[in-house]
Structure formats: C-alpha cells, structure tokens
C-alpha cells in the first residue's frame, strides 16, 4: 500500500501527470482523422459506452473514496472550501462522459444517414410548456433547494480566525475557481497569468462562434464532424483549467511546493531553485560568452523563438498541415484562431521547458516583458 501511494505521489507531479495527460488527450479526443483512426484502433471510443462509463466512474470515485483513508489526503480534501472541487471533479467526469456518449451515438446515426437523436419531426405535435416544462423546472428547483439545505445543515461554511494582515498563511490560496490562474503563476509573471490570460480566455470564448462558423453540428451532441474545435476546447477546459485547479487545490502546499496527494505538507520541504533565463542558457552555457550589455542583443534568441512561435508557425501550418482548414477559414479568422491557439499553447510549452531545462524566462526584459 505504501509503495503504491509513493508511486501515485510521484506520478501526480505535473512533470509526469500533465505530460501523460496531454499526450493521451489527443488519442482520447482526436482532433484529426489520423488521431481518430488511432482512437478506434486503441478502442478508446469504448469509454463512451455505458460499460466504459461505469468503469471510468468506478475508477475515479472508488479511487477518491479509497484515498480518503489516507490522513494526508483527507486533511486536504475535507477542508470545507475544497468540497466544491470534489463536486467539480465528479461533475466534470460525469457530464463529459454523458456528452461524449450522446455525441458518439449521434455520430453513428449520422454515419448511417439517420437524423440525430434530438431530431423531432416537424409534423409531430409540440410539447406544451404548461405543464410539461414548468413541472420539470419545479422538480429541479425543489431538488436543488433540498440538496442545498441538506448540504448547509451537514457542513458549516468555512470561517477561520479573524483577518490579520500581519499573519500570512502558507500557502495563501486564491478562491478555488481562480486556482488555475494562480497555478500559472508558477510558470508566468503575474501580468500574464493574472491579466493577459484571463482576458484572452474571455475574448477567446467570445470569438469562438465567429471562428467556428461551420453550420453542421448545431443543436445536437456530435463529435466526429466537429472534432478539431471540440478537441481544442476540451484541451483548454480539462487540462488548462480543471486540471490546474485540482493541482492548485490539492497538491500545492507551503511555499507553493508540489506535494503528492498522500504526502504530508511539510513546511520545510526544500526544492532547489535552479531556474535560468534563456539568454544565460544560450550566451553563457552554449556559446561560452558573457551576457551582452545591450538588452535586445542579450534577449535576441528568445525574441526570435517567440516570433517564430507566433508569426512563422501559423502561416507555415496554413500552407502545409492545415491547408484545407486555412482556405476554408480565410485570413482573418485563421489569424485570430491561430493567435489564440498559439497563446494557449505557450502554457504547456513553458511548463515543459521549465521541467526539462529549468527555463525561467524565454525573454527577460525587466519592467517590460518577462515571458
């Protein structure tokens, strides 16, 4: 048991778990026809059946409740304000499965030239709002209220010691729904993690309907015909949002150090800080020269890489892999889509560089631009 816990502690570290999840992700949620073939070959589409669903839920819920036997896990999960995160975790799993199951069912119907499940023949009589809808709404409201009252009686809302500006807790955590942003602070400066990324998320979401203008797949669950957008959206929602919240809530202890789910939050845990700027890496370590005094010259390699990431890769993809996609989208939509995608990609890329070469900043111009 102890050995198993130790292994889980080790693989929970973002270095392992995020990498594995990010690679596995595209086989589970294929963005292209090629990945889709692999998805079928590996029988991953069986996850979205009743049996697959039972297995998934049994694994996650069973694993969760077995884990509560561990005192360290229990200490973190049982914090009153972490209860919603458990709810979020189970809810996300269930609704993900539920949506994907209906999507896969509909994909099969569409493939055999049937209408999707949601389709109602226009000649069929419509359902009356009174009583059929108001009755559902009433039951939903009553059940929700009952659950809330039960929850409120069973569990007190958290209230700690009175506010004391001179005594800061370690770790100090943002409200749970912003923990993804706080987790990004590990990899990015506050102006990016706290300001630029949230703004990009909001505007990216708003831009979505104007980028994905393909009319098919509107008004019913489906996957295959919308795979690129669904895959990217789920990547952002599951890995760059929910996953980061779970890491931030359950696995970040004192000094924002990583702790496995069964590890005690040891305030004296020492993690060596050996992060190094890209400029130092190239000039000092690779070229064996002192850092140039001129900031632009010093940071030129990082700037060039950043330029390649945002300005060269998108057009290059547009004339090669994404050629058809580009011609369908046109210049403006493609540019916006690519900018948002590449911006979102900076997060996993930066995470990966931090773990492999201890990269601190790719471009470091103090007071102006640290990335």
């Amino acid at each position: 048991m102890g050995a198993l816990k130790h292994i889980i502690n080790l693989v929970s570290a973002p270095q392992v778990s995020f990498l594995v999840a990010a690679i596995a992700f595209f086989f589970v949620f294929p963005p292209t026809a090629g990945f889709e073939r692999w998805n079928r070959r590996l029988r991953l589409n069986l996850l979205w059946t009743v049996r697959g669903g039972i297995l998934l839920h049994a694994l996650v819920i069973g694993g969760f409740f077995l884990s509560t036997l561990d005192p360290n896990f229990r200490a973190i999960v049982a914090k009153p304000d972490n209860v919603p995160i458990a709810l979020l975790l189970f809810g996300t799993l269930f609704f993900l499965w539920y949506a994907m199951k209906q999507a896969v069912d509909n994909d099969q119907r569409l493939a055999s030239d049937q209408k999707p499940n949601e389709y109602t023949d226009p000649s069929e009589p419509k359902i009356l709002v009174w009583p059929d809808l108001v009755y559902i709404e009433l039951i939903a409201a009553v059940l929700c209220m009952a659950a809330l009252i039960f929850w409120s009686i069973a569990l007190e809302a958290p209230l700690e010691q009175p506010a004391n500006p001179t005594l800061s807790p370690n770790p100090a955590k943002a409200p749970w729904y912003f923990l993804g942003l706080q987790e990004m602070l590990v990899y990015f400066d506050p102006w990016l993690a706290g300001v630029v990324f949230p703004v990009l998320i909001i505007f990216g979401l708003m831009a979505l309907p104007y980028i994905d203008t393909a009319p098919e797949g509107s008004g019913y669950y489906s996957y295959s015909r919308r795979k690129l957008f669904i895959s990217l959206f789920l990547f952002g929602w599951l890995l760059l949002w929910v996953y980061l919240i779970i890491v931030g809530a359950f696995m970040r202890g004192p000094n924002w150090n990583f702790f496995g789910p069964y590890e005690e939050w040891d305030i004296h845990k020492v993690v060596p800080l050996t992060n190094i700027n890209f400029s130092a890496l190239v000039w000092v370590k690779l070229l064996n020269r002192p850092l140039p005094d001129n900031i632009i010259v010093r940071e030129i390699f990082g700037i060039v890489l950043l330029g390649i990431h945002f300005l060269v890769v998108p057009p290059l993809l547009g004339v090669t892999v994404l050629k058809k996609f580009y011609s369908r989208m046109g210049n403006v939509k493609y540019a916006v889509f690519m900018f948002l995608s590449m911006a979102a990609l900076t997060l996993p890329i930066k995470m990966f560089l931090r773990w492999t070469i201890n990269l601190k900043y790719l471009v470091a111009i103090p007071g102006w631009f640290n990335l």
Partner: protein, 263 residues
C-alpha cells in the same frame, strides 16, 4: 345565488372577481387554456407556449442554465437576509458573521449562500460546456454565447467579491492573491510592464496610490476601503449588471429560435 352555494368554496374562490383579475385563465384543463396560461403570465412568458420534444429533456439540457438562474435567485434571497445582519466594517464584519451562525434564527443562511455560490459557479461552467458540446453557439446564437461569456465572468466576479466579506484569514489572503494580480496589469498596474510609459517628465502617473489595485481596494493593501468596495460591488453593482445581461440572455434565447435543436 343558489348556484354559487352549490359550487363550493374553491370554485367560488377561483371564480371571484379578484382572482380572475390576477389570473385571467382559470385552472387550465384543455389545450387552449394551457397555451393561454403561459401567454398571460409575466413569469412564464419567458417561455414559448410549446417546445419540440427534445428541448425539455434533461438528457439534452441537463437543466444547467435553469439551475444557474435558480441559484442566482436563491443567492439574491439569502443575500438580502444576510445584509440585515452584516455590517461591512472592520470592527463588525467578522463578529457579525459569527453571530449569523450562532445567534440568529435559521442560522444556516450563510451556509446556503456560500454553497449556492460555489454551486452556481460550477453550474454556469457546466451550462457552458453543454452549450458548447451541442454546438448551440453556432448561428444564429453567436451573440447570445457572448452574452453568456459575460455572465460567466460576472458569476466569478460576484463570487470573488463575496469571498472577502467574512473578513477572516481565508478571505483576506485569497483576495490578496487575487488583487495582487491587478497590480500587475500592463500600463495601469504599479508592478505591471510598461507602467513607466505613463509619466510626465520624471513624474509617474501610476503609483502605489493610483493604480488598478488601488482602484479595486481603495487602498494600497486590503483594509476598510476594500471591504466597503467589495461589499458594494457584491451586493449592488455586479448583481445589477448581471441581471441586465441575464435579461438579454433569456430574451435572446427566445428571439434566436428557442432551445437549439437539429434542423
């Protein structure tokens, strides 16, 4: 006269002038009356009178949008009750919250408020997820999706501003983490990039007492000013804006063709 007596109390009650002036359609027993019931009721007129079969199925909508709105109503109601007891000043805030649990009757209002708030954030996320997975953001519903994103943002802002009000350690340090990010806003945050650009000669326009964080907190750190500002944002300003966007959101659902469905 004799007929009235025979009809019994309830029949007379529902037939009375007062009742009929409020609810013009009696108890709806036939199709026409059921249609009229929805059309003639202010609260129900948000709905169409009839829907395609799939649109009322839990399987399709998960009821998440409806639950988000229901939770907003619960939050408004419990929030008003909490406002009777809570005073947003440093001397009173924490003790008022303790009293809310220990000395007020029905001492679970704060619990209901807090858990509904968490639940609403989750419900709104799942609602967005459902709308995405059914492709319901596609034409003609693009704009309503954007309104939804605004509502999502305001849900989180409402939750965030409410987080400070108990004035305990959890509250101030969570808000400290959050509001420090405001100080890093490019150009208008004191620690943000490009802030040096906004200056006249050697005098910077953006300093500790004139940046984005100061605007949010009314001070350079979290104190009495921040508590009052968050209270006003939480109880008045953000709910008002959210209600306007909600009205647009619901109205547009109808105008854009009702609950989405396959053609």
């Amino acid at each position: 006269m004799t007929e009235d007596k025979q009809a019994g109390f309830w029949a007379r009650f529902f037939g009375s002038t007062i009742w009929r002036s409020i609810f013009r359609v009696g108890i709806p027993r036939d199709r026409r009356a059921r249609l009229m019931q929805v059309l003639s009721n202010f609260f129900l007129h948000l709905h169409p009178v009839s829907l395609p079969k799939h649109a009322v199925k839990l399987k399709y909508t998960w009821c998440m949008g409806g639950l988000s709105f229901f939770l907003f109503v619960v939050l408004t109601f419990t929030g008003v009750l909490l406002m009777f007891y809570y005073r947003p000043t440093i001397e009173y805030a924490y003790n008022d919250v303790v009293d809310l649990r220990e000395t007020t009757p029905m001492g679970i209002m704060r619990e209901i408020h807090r858990w509904s708030a968490h639940l609403m954030v989750i419900a709104v996320w799942f609602h967005m997820f459902r709308v995405f997975m059914t492709g319901s953001y596609k034409a003609p519903r693009e704009f309503n999706w954007c309104v939804g994103v605004v509502l999502l943002t305001f849900t989180m802002l409402l939750s965030f501003t409410g987080y400070l009000l108990p004035w305990d350690q959890l509250a101030i340090w969570a808000i400290t983490v959050g509001s420090n990010m405001a100080a890093a806003t490019p150009f208008v945050g004191q620690e943000g990039p490009g802030v040096a650009l906004l200056s006249i000669g050697n005098v910077g326009l953006i300093g500790r007492t004139s940046d984005a964080r100061f605007l949010l907190l009314g001070d350079t750190s979290i104190g009495a000013g921040a508590l009052l500002r968050f209270y006003v944002f939480h109880c008045v300003f953000f709910p008002l804006i959210a209600v306007v966007f909600m009205a647009i959101h619901f109205w547009r659902v109808r105008k854009d063709g009702g609950v989405s469905g396959p053609m």
